[in-house]
């Protein structure tokens, strides 16, 4: 079992004929993900992957024709907001946006729009999700993780790979790994995923990988101490990072100096989370 994606996921890929979209669609298909359709405006009617996957002009057409129940977005940053709006309007319940570099004001509009609909957005600027042995949506290399009972949620990309790989080396596997992305405004936050892991019968333990900036880890700590029964291990990146480029006085007024790695570690430890000093310590802390 798993959260968000599994063997019943019928995936649509937006930007399937682009370089990145095509490359990663191939990887996803090879992993066993059921990719049922692609969208590239202007290329509707074509077929890709040796004629196995139909391409449509719009998300709506693709969903109506194939019953896709999740979409993965690989379009360039300047087109990504429109791709997310289009997906949200199509009625598809799960949107995963891999694209990096989406302007933050666009993301505020996307997020506020999506909040009015019954749809979950993961990302942008994220590696996507992996339910080992069942489905991979995004760009996480499939061979670095094995099926298991550890839920992994992370704001980072390659750092997540390190953790999955460290788990695999000691024979520990993941139920689902969710990369929520590193952008200041995104669709899904730690608490959303923690809640899903808490209720997933096949997730026994959870790894949370955070980093400096924002208050998402602090909110996670609050949720963990009040609602979570499953054990957690965490790692926070950025202990040595130079203090962020300050945003005039307004940044200090809004965040009041929150967001340092030390503060996040303190909040998580106070919530009973074991915090690793480096990623390779995580497996032993999970035992």
């Amino acid at each position: 079992m798993s959260i968000l994606i599994n063997k019943n996921t019928r995936l649509l890929v937006q930007g399937i004929t682009g370089n990145e979209g095509f490359f990663h669609t191939t990887q996803m298909v090879n992993y066993g993900t059921n990719v049922v359709a692609g969208v590239t405006p202007g290329k509707g009617g074509e077929w890709v992957m040796e004629g196995k996957i139909p391409v449509f002009d719009s998300v709506k057409l693709a969903v109506d024709a194939t019953g896709a129940n999740a979409t993965c977005i690989f379009v360039p940053a300047r087109f990504a907001p429109d791709a997310m709006f289009e997906a949200a309007d199509s009625g598809i319940p799960l949107i995963v946006c891999i694209t990096e570099g989406v302007p933050v004001q666009d993301m505020m509009r996307v997020r506020n729009y999506i909040d009015q609909k019954k749809v979950r957005l993961v990302g942008p600027n994220c590696p996507g999700m992996l339910t080992p042995g069942e489905s991979k949506v995004g760009i996480i290399p499939g061979d670095i993780a094995i099926p298991g009972d550890v839920g992994v949620v992370s704001r980072s990309g390659t750092l997540t790979y390190e953790v999955l790989y460290a788990l695999k080396l000691v024979g520990m596997g993941a139920s689902t790994c969710v990369g929520i992305g590193g952008d200041p405004i995104n669709g899904t936050n730690f608490v959303d995923v923690l809640e899903m892991f808490e209720h997933d019968p096949h997730t026994e333990k959870v790894v949370l990988i955070g980093e400096i900036g924002g208050t998402d880890e602090d909110k996670a700590a609050e949720y963990i101490s009040s609602k979570m029964t499953k054990p957690l291990v965490s790692f926070i990146a950025g202990q040595t990072a130079p203090s962020g480029k300050r945003m005039g006085h307004a940044g200090a007024i809004i965040e009041g100096g929150a967001g340092s790695a030390a503060d996040k570690v303190k909040a998580l430890e106070a919530a009973g989370v074991k915090v690793a000093r480096h990623p390779e310590e995580i497996p032993s802390l999970l035992k």
Partner: protein, 381 residues
């Protein structure tokens, strides 16, 4: 991207926010000429991209054009927090009655823009925020609706602005909203917004930051970037799509992915070393980009060892290895190098580097430990 005060105020003016008369000068003689035009009494303001200019002596009042020349010469010879002053803004001096703080910025926790105002504007606004938060008014703006007039009116009332100024204040608020939204700003700040003795609202100082990710649709703003204000290596890195920040340690780091790059730095420190930089080569970097990255790291004379930590996903380890070899042939580095390659094409990458006399590592901790030892000059395999 940060904008200078004079650039921010030019943008404010474009959106109908009143600013003082004035211009920017690069020499004392220019400053004198501008002061003469403005009638003598002026403020000379250093234009550097750091806060605390006033407290550092970088803002001075001149009573006439001659004094403006003298003060401009002084300020242009200054360094503020390590940045040499290259330009001064010469503004007509205002007779100030009241100072208001007014800004619009992103509230990431609320996922909305937020308008912030306070009747206690001026240099100590952060102090006010910490000690008397009730004096700071915050109003969130729906990003799908934009600023509505009633919200600006509410803010005016909440900071006890006399009613005679409401109309002008609403105009400033609309101007600031348009400034923020039409330039993809992450911050548009007026501090102070003053009421002058002759009863006008004027934006005396301004600060703006623009979302780097949105510069593709603002060619005019992208041109405003002042590359004199950044380290040359950082400019070079940005040109090649690399993210590089120089630090004061001696272990150079090259990593793919920002989170992993920060983690690699953290582990170096955990094992007693000090990172010389943050460098993220991004996803899918080819050999050329890696070679540029390596040259940038080695251009820092403090670097005594280099740590390469690559977890191949989209990035292929053999491409990284090729880039390392190209850069080594060109730069002929004398410092020891520790390399850890895992993931996509790691085996091929390791083979390419077999004869390159590099120290290899299996795990992240092992790589960090070895680079710390190498930076201290310890011999090892």
């Amino acid at each position: 991207m940060k904008l200078h005060e004079y650039q921010s105020k030019q943008i404010f003016a474009k959106y109908g926010i009143p600013i003082p008369k004035g211009r920017v000068a690069a020499t004392a003689a220019e400053a004198k000429a501008i002061a003469e035009e403005l009638g003598g009494r002026v403020v000379i303001k250093s234009q550097v991209l750091v806060g605390g200019r006033g407290k550092a002596g970088g803002i001075k009042l001149a009573k006439d054009a001659d004094e403006a020349e003298q003060l401009a010469a002084q300020i242009l010879a200054m360094e503020i927090k390590g940045l040499p002053v290259r330009k001064v803004l010469v503004d007509e001096a205002a007779a100030i009655e009241t100072e208001i703080y007014f800004s619009i910025t992103n509230d990431r926790a609320a996922r909305k823009p937020v308008m912030i105002a306070s009747a206690a504007g001026g240099v100590d606004i952060e102090e006010v925020a910490a000690t008397a938060p009730e004096k700071i008014i915050k109003v969130h703006i729906d990003p799908l609706l934009g600023l509505r007039e009633y919200q600006a009116r509410d803010v005016a009332a909440s900071i006890d602005l006399p009613r005679e100024y409401w109309k002008d204040f609403i105009k400033v608020a609309n101007g600031l909203w348009r400034t923020y939204s039409e330039t993809d700003a992450t911050l548009a700040e007026i501090n102070p917004l003053v009421i002058t003795k002759d009863k006008r609202l004027v934006a005396l100082d301004g600060k703006m930051m623009i979302d780097d990710n949105a510069l593709f649709r603002h060619a005019d703003l992208a041109e405003m970037r002042d590359i004199d204000e950044e380290a040359p290596a950082e400019t070079e890195a940005r040109k090649h799509g690399l993210s590089y920040i120089k630090l004061d340690g001696n272990i150079g780091c090259m990593v793919n992915g920002a989170g992993l790059a920060m983690t690699s730095m953290d582990i170096v420190k955990l094992f007693g070393g000090k990172p010389a930089n943050f460098l993220d080569i991004g996803g899918g970097a080819g050999a050329d980009k890696v070679a540029v990255a390596m040259k940038i790291i080695l251009s820092d004379p403090n670097v005594k060892a280099v740590l390469f930590n690559i977890f191949g996903g989209i990035t292929r380890c053999d491409e990284v290895a090729k880039g390392i070899l190209v850069a080594m042939a060109e730069v002929k580095p004398k410092v020891p190098m520790v390399v850890r390659l895992v993931g996509t094409n790691a085996e091929e990458g390791r083979k390419l580097l077999e004869n390159a006399k590099m120290i290899t590592a299996e795990t992240l901790a092992d790589a960090a430990r070895k680079s710390v030892a190498a930076a201290k000059g310890k011999k090892q395999k």
